[in-house]
């Protein structure tokens, strides 16, 4: 096991810079998830850790040893690929054993380790099959078997679940979490799915356009996003945003079309950084609740109703802004209705309209 240190790492392909100096330290035994939209550089960063891409500038260290110039086979890592990358001409057993064979593991030990790994992943009955005879989920298990059998210092996962259907994805997510608990190996996991990131990670690194936005625990990223991008990326449904002018006394928030929402005295402390200026207000859907008579209650137009069984998501018009609110399952609303909603501004986030940086702590 080992820590993975990424120090001021840059990557350019020709004249195009794709990673602009990233610093991340993944602690020994930590489960770190790199997340971000397509093209943010997360897979490139992972491939640099693996040694499949060169590092243009900066250093990558695994277990305290700088690995910039080491080929992948000398980094003591294992990687699970998005498209499985199983050797189609080899059986499942040969696929799993390949890394051991390349490292000259004696045959009896190799067989024992393959048996153990396949038992852990419940693929013992598939050992003699070729990858072509397996389902997507089984192939992904074999790919994970190939990774765990060598007990490497670090596991790298490159969007391993994105080719699986929703149910299988949830199942495999649990499986991966269990593997981490069992082996305690350092994991760097790339995904574009923020639910995977939230559920799996000890810490999430959110990337955008080759820049690190925030590297913190899922709860921190959710509760204290450092900027508007992180706030909008983490959380499903995403945070609601509205540009608003706040008066010096923070008594009301103007949401356009003449709608001005009163602010409770308790929420004023939270909104203090916005006093007398224009800000972007961010409010999570769970803080847009149904309710008349609250301190910040205003009537809102219902635009869309999405029942989820356990709750209902309601798209509401508040002045110029469209806010999603989490309502009870039996909300009894339909598009075109007007319903009172209460905005819990004590939980609001404030962002600078130009830089997008968070103004609230």
């Amino acid at each position: 096991m080992a820590a993975v240190e990424i120090r001021s790492v840059r990557k350019s392909f020709g004249r195009v810079d794709v990673i602009h100096g990233i610093d991340i330290t993944v602690d020994d035994g930590e489960f770190a998830v790199l997340v971000g939209p397509s093209g943010c550089g997360k897979s490139t960063l992972l491939r640099m850790i693996a040694g499949l891409e060169s590092v243009s500038d900066g250093e990558i260290a695994i277990g305290g040893k700088v690995v910039n110039d080491l080929p992948p086979r000398e980094r003591d890592i294992a990687m699970v690929f998005q498209d499985y990358a199983l050797y189609p001409h080899k059986t499942v057993a040969e696929n799993i054993a390949f890394g051991l064979r390349m490292r000259g593991t004696p045959k009896p030990e190799m067989e024992k380790l393959v048996r153990e790994a396949s038992d852990i992943l419940q693929i013992g009955h598939l050992l003699e099959r070729k990858p072509g005879q397996l389902s997507g989920g089984q192939r992904q298990r074999v790919a994970m078997g190939r990774a765990i059998v060598r007990r490497p210092k670090v596991f790298l996962f490159d969007e391993p679940l994105s080719n699986l259907d929703a149910q299988l994805r949830a199942e495999m997510r649990i499986e991966i979490k269990k593997l981490h608990q069992r082996f305690g190996t350092t994991i760097v996991y790339v995904t574009h799915d923020q639910i995977e990131a939230m559920t799996l990670a000890d810490r999430i690194a959110i990337l955008k356009g080759g820049y690190l936005q925030q590297f913190a625990s899922p709860n921190t990223c959710y509760a204290r996003p450092v900027n508007r991008f992180v706030a909008g990326f983490i959380g499903s449904p995403p945070m609601n945003f509205a540009e608003t002018d706040v008066d010096a006394g923070i008594s009301r928030l103007s949401l356009g079309q003449g709608l001005s929402v009163p602010v409770s005295p308790e929420a004023r402390q939270r909104l203090q950084p916005a006093a007398g200026r224009r800000v972007v207000l961010g409010l999570r859907p769970e803080h847009v609740k149904p309710g008349a008579g609250g301190p910040s209650s205003v009537p809102a137009g219902v635009e869309l109703v999405e029942p989820l069984g356990s709750e209902t998501l309601v798209l509401l018009r508040l002045g110029d802004a469209l806010f999603t609110g989490r309502f009870p399952a039996e909300a009894g609303l339909k598009p075109g209705d007007t319903t009172p909603v209460d905005c819990a501004f004590a939980n609001a986030h404030l962002f600078d309209p130009q830089s997008g940086q968070a103004l609230t702590a």
């Binding site: 040694g51 086979r73 499985y84 390949f98 890394g99 190939r146």
Partner: protein, 280 residues
């Protein structure tokens, strides 16, 4: 009502006919040589022409093996073809791999130059090659043929392999390199087995090229014991006589090994090996 567009009549039949013409073009001369090889010379010269031999004989085959050291020609041809094919495939595989994977500048241009090299008329190379081999004191040795044969087949083999290598997903090699292979190891353990059909196709092309080659073999090997089959067969011809049945028998002896070889390796040329390793 809309008129149906006029369609080419009996498209399937036309395709069959074209295939038949191609097959007949290759097969009928061989059949004629085979029939000639079991006729006596008298029967061959007799009019009217007989198609099937009146009195089939294997005497011509006996003469093939007694008149000239054909076992030496066979051995020379076989050794030269195998060794030059091995050399050609090794270099072509590495070259094709480099063109497909190593982010070289202008791989398309390099391929075009290779193609241009393949277009050189062989006759233009004979004199420089002769001079080179004489300077290297390699005349009348296997390497005098192995080296140019390997080089001459390389452009075609490289192009065949490039098209096969392009179909192998990058991540399969990446997985192999993470599993402990070097780049060449990944090529050997993963890419080559998966592109076996392409490798065999290229190898068959190279092998047949060498097996059939006449001009260089004639020029670079003047000693009888170093001759290859195509040149050796000409020795059955006398100054004034053309013993066609014996020459035909020698030709059949030349055709059979390569036909068997191709038949054996054709079984290995199976597609779809890559299915299942990746998604989809």
């Amino acid at each position: 009502m809309a008129m149906a567009l006029p369609r080419f009549p009996n498209k399937r039949k036309m395709i069959w006919l074209a295939a038949l013409i191609v097959a007949a073009n290759g097969f009928l001369p061989v059949l004629w040589i085979l029939l000639t090889s079991v006729k006596t010379e008298t029967e061959l010269m007799r009019l009217p022409i007989t198609i099937l031999p009146a009195a089939p004989t294997l005497q011509n085959y006996v003469r093939v093996f007694t008149d000239q050291p054909i076992h030496l020609f066979l051995w020379n041809s076989f050794a030269v073809a195998v060794l030059s094919t091995a050399l050609c495939i090794t270099v072509s595989a590495l070259a094709a791999y480099a063109l497909v994977r190593l982010r070289l500048p202008a791989p398309g241009l390099i391929l075009s130059v290779l193609l241009a090299i393949a277009m050189f008329p062989l006759i233009s190379l004979v004199v420089p090659l002769f001079q080179t081999m004489r300077s290297l004191e390699l005349l009348n040795t296997w390497p005098a043929l192995i080296l140019p044969y390997a080089v001459l087949s390389m452009p075609v083999c490289t192009m065949v392999l490039v098209s096969f290598f392009q179909d192998i997903p990058n991540d399969l090699e990446n997985a192999a390199m993470i599993d402990g292979c070097t780049r060449v190891g990944a090529l050997w353990h993963v890419v080559i087995p998966l592109t076996a059909p392409g490798v065999f196709t290229a190898a068959i092309l190279a092998f047949v090229n060498c097996w059939d080659e006449f001009l260089l073999a004639l020029t670079l090997s003047s000693r009888v014991v170093k001759r290859t089959l195509p040149v050796g067969i000409t020795l059955y011809q006398g100054e004034f006589a053309f013993p066609w049945p014996i020459i035909s028998a020698a030709l059949i002896v030349a055709i059979v090994p390569v036909s068997i070889l191709i038949a054996v390796f054709q079984d290995r040329v199976v597609g779809g090996l890559t299915s299942g390793g990746m998604k989809g």
